[in-house]
Every structure is written in structure tokens, then in C-alpha cells.
Amino acid sequence: MARERVNTTKKDPAQLGAIERDTMVKMLHYMRLTRTLEDRIERKLYRQGKIVGGVYVGLGQEAISIGTAIHMRDDDVVAPSHRDMGVFLIRGVTPRRIIAQYMGRKSGLTGGKDGNMHMGDMKHNIIAFVSHLADNVPVAAGVALAFKQRGEKRVALCYNGEGATSRGDWHEGINLASIHKLPVVYFVNNNAYAYSTPVHLQMAVENVADRAPAYGIPGEIVDGNDIIAVYHAAKRAIDRARDGGGPSLVEFKTFRMTGHSAHDDAGYVPRELFEEWRSKDPIVRYERVLAEKGVLGREEIEKMQKEIDAIIDDATEWAEKEPYPGAKDLTRGVYFEG
């Protein structure tokens, strides 16, 4: 088991039946909510100068965050990367707090201390991403270690891009987790680029999952733009971890449909690639499936989108009225204050 690698990229999303209708609808809701929220942040607020600093979005990668985090139990813990907005939404963080976070308001998740995706909240069991890529890999292992030490059936989920796998902490953390068979799942979104760096300059192997055997853990390659495939692969890995089967490495093939961040026009990416991947848009594909299976039709989806737009409009208006932190907040909270 430990050594071989399953490849489900080609498989078509057959086992759809296995997913309950509510879950299917919920997943679409969060995919559209994610895209609408990030679109508002990047295309509107950032360009209007209402958000300063860096902005990274997961356009075209929504299926990954949502098809994986959907399996989390309340007491599971997640360490998302900078392209996993969906994780926050599905964990119940409100668009209001998220937009306030991006706008540096006091009511954002970090109260203005940090910006954009560098947010977290242990009340939602979300560990804030630090810029330093792959630092979250050993940290997630440590969370899982605590679960194992206390004999809890909880799981830790850790997200990164393929570029982060080149860092020493990625190796050290997965090695540690695999030795102790810790209940942690490592998800990697392989979106073909790390900033401007293509995969072939990042590693000499074709797939990140090719590295799973180096740790004696299962590796799986999944079509990251097919939320049904994502859902099932994530379930396999999470169940395995919860049942004491140890860590897994799940690689999702996808594509970054934007520049690295809002200021990057991705001039180094061949335009055809964008064309090719636009046709694989995870939301469009999923909606096609939902239609075929008669789960949701156009009208229902339009209605859903209207509700989502309203949520984001409300969140934006609310956040813009929220106060900024004041100078007196500057020196608060460096150390425990009781």
C-alpha cells in the first residue's frame, strides 16, 4: 500500500451518486461564493485602492479547497495556503470579516496586524498562513501529533502549492509525520507555476505525488478541476488518517488562472494555456454535471448567485464602514496579556 501511487486524473466523476444532494449544492454554493468574493477583492476593491499590499486569488482552483475542506469535522484543524479562500468560507468565517481583513480593519481576522490571506482563527480551527512557504508542513504534523498523543480521532489538513514542496520544511515535516503515522493529510495544488517558475524548474519529477514513496506514504494524483474527483480523493485520504492509517500526499493538477498576485500580468505564461484551462473551469464543469444529473438547473443557480452577490455586497458595505485599528492597538498582543 504505502509505496504505490493511484492516478485518478483520467477517471470520470462516476461515483457522483455517492455524494448527498445537499452536499453537492453546498459545494457549488461555496465555489461560487469563493469566486465572487475573490473577484470583488481583486477586480474591484484592490483596483479601487481600497486594499493595499498584495492580493493572491485561487481563480480556477476553487474545487480544491472546497472538495477537501468539505470533509472536515468541527474539531479538525486546517492549515491553508494562500490560494485557499474556500477553506475559510466553508469553515464559517464570514465574508464580512474577510473583507475587513483585506481592508486592514480592526474587525478583520488579524485586526489589521496582518493582511490578506495571512489570517487564521483557532475558534474556526484555522491556522494562519505565514509567508514562508511550507512552514505549515511541520506545524500541521505537530497538530496531528497532539491528536495522536491524546488519542483523539481528529485530523489535520495542510495545503500548499507545488513550489512549496522544494523547501526543506516540506521534507522534514512529512518525514516526521510519516515516521509516527500522524493523522495529517498533505494537499498540494499543482497549478503549473510558482510565481513565474514552471514546474520543470521546480523539480525533476513529473508529479509531486512521485515523492510520496520517499516517505512510505500513499500518494495520489487527482484532477483538481473536477470537484467530484477531489471530493472522493480527499475523503479517502482523510478517512485513512482518521483511522490511524497515517499521512497521505494528494496532488491536485490545476492551473493558476491569474498572475501570481494582482500586480502580475503573467506575461511569462503562454496564452494557449489559459485558453486550454479556461475550458476546464471547475465551476462550469461541475454545473454541467449537476445539470446532467438533474441536481440543479440554470434558474436555481442564478438564484444562488443572486444570493451570493447580496452577501458580498453586504459584506463590502459593512467592512468599508468598519474602523481601522488605532495607534493604541499597535503594541498590544505581542505577549500574553491575561
Binding site: 484543524v77 495571512h118 505537530g142 501529533l145 497532539a146 520544511d169 516526521l176 500574553f336
Partner: protein, 324 residues
Amino acid sequence: MAKTTYVDAIRDGLWEEMERDDRVFLLGEDVGIYGGAFKVSKGMLERFGDLRVIDTPICESAIVGAAVGAALAGMRPVVEMQFIDFISCAFDQIVNFAAKCRYRWGAGIPIVVRGPCGGGVHGGPFHSQNVESYFFNVPGLKIVCPSTAYDAKGLIKAAIRDEDPVLYFEHKYLYRRVKEDLPEEDFVVPIGKAALRREGADLSIITYGAMVYKALDAAEELAKEGVEVEVLDLRSLLPLDEEAILATAKKTSKIIVLHESTLTGGPGGEIVARIAQKAFEYLDGPILRIAPPDTPVPYSPPLEEAFLPQVQGIVEKARELAAY
């Protein structure tokens, strides 16, 4: 009652905390079966089991990262660096993850990273370092440097009970060289409080760690010449006990800051700066620093001897300053 050595004081403190609170656990290289390179965790694997005394692979960054994660999940991890020199491999996790979580998003990281530091045992450039300055400019961290068995035990307990990341630097030269009778009952030494090791009216030596003993020996010498030296043992560097620093500065008006870290960029500058700003009117002479020269810690005995501050050199500098 037998006297307790500095190294056993650390062990006892850690052991008692693990008995007291089952969230406390130890992870590091060779801390289990072997009981640690310096035997700080001797017998703990047998007593607490391999879920609380964890022999890790050689991966300092992941060890600290895992401690951070376990802390986020409610545990109280204590990390052992086999030699504190290897903390350089975990620098990023300490500085960017552990130190900044609380400020950024309110998540406290109650971990302790401890290990043997310092020279005097011919360990060479990679087994003798004093690493406090690497972390002295990192808000969110606490740094302690015990010099006595009492403080070693009281500070390890305080560090484990602290809600924030604490770097606990134990001086390997003192491990078996200093010992004392320790109270039976539980006690802690508060982080951030210095200790006056000797009172004197003429001059103050502000120091910490193994240098405390060099300062005390120098003070003995000088006493014979009628120079009364006060010796302040900082015990903690972050937070600094500014009150105690200014008090002794105002009292004697003549200050020597002594440390085993090399001179330039060492912790002494901060201490001097606090005094030069806040006790300036009280000064009766230049503030001196005594520290090793700006080189790595050399291996060969005669070189290391020349590298480390020695009593005679301290006495001479102090004599000059006293006469200033």
C-alpha cells in the same frame, strides 16, 4: 540532602512539570532511549512513554514546527536542541512562526526551546556558540539564561508555564560544575527578573550565564584592593529587567557589561543603551563592555582560553574604571 547540579536541576524541573501537567512533553534528537546527549532526559522515556518523550529525526526546523503545531492544539512542548548551535536550522520557525502568531492573530504558542550553549569545553565553533543575539531583536520571544541550579530549575518551570515561546539557554560549562541545595517544594523563578549576586558600592558588573562566576571571582579579587563590586545576574534577556539595571547603574555610577557572546552586535549594546539613555546623569565614567573578540569560538585550548573573558582581564578593566 545531596546538592543538585545545574544539569539535574533542569532535569528535575522538567520532570516535575511533566508529572504536574500531562500536556507537557519533550521532543528532540536522542532524548528518549539515550536520555539526551547530556542526560537531561535520563529515565523520562521509561517514566512517561514514547508519546511524551519523542526521539525525532535530525530536523530541527520540523521539531520546532511540530512543537508550534502541538502548542496550537493545546499541548506544552519542550524542544531539546542537542547543542544550541543547531537552533540556527530552526531559526525561521522560531522567528516567523512561533514569535509572531500571537500578535498577528491572537494564537499563543507556549513552547520552550532549550539546549546547551557556551564555551569552555573545547567544543569548537559549532558546539560552543552563544546564540542569544540572533533572537534578541525578535518581539514575541522570551530568552532566559540561568546561571545557578536554583535558577535552572525555577526558570525551566517558569518557561514551561509561560504562555509564550521561551528560549532557554543552559550553559554546558555549568552543567556539573555548579550545584546547590534546592528546596523540596515547587518553586519558579519569574522570567524577566534579574538577581543581585553581590552588593557593592563602587562599580557594577552586569552579566548572565557562565560569566556570572567570572564576575564574582573578579569581585573577590577587587575586594582585596578595597574596590566593592556589585554583580547583577540578568537571568533573562527578554524581557530585560531594566529596573534592576538602572538601579545598580544609579547606585554605583560605574558600569561594566560582561558577556560570553562576541562583542560587536552582542547583547551588551542594549544594556549599555538603556543606561546611557536613562541613567546618564548618574554616570561617573564610560560604560565598558567585556566580551570575546569578534571571531568564531576557536577549538584549540590556548585559543579558547584567550577568546573567553578571564578573571584577570576583568579585574584590570574594573580597576581602571574604579580609578576613573
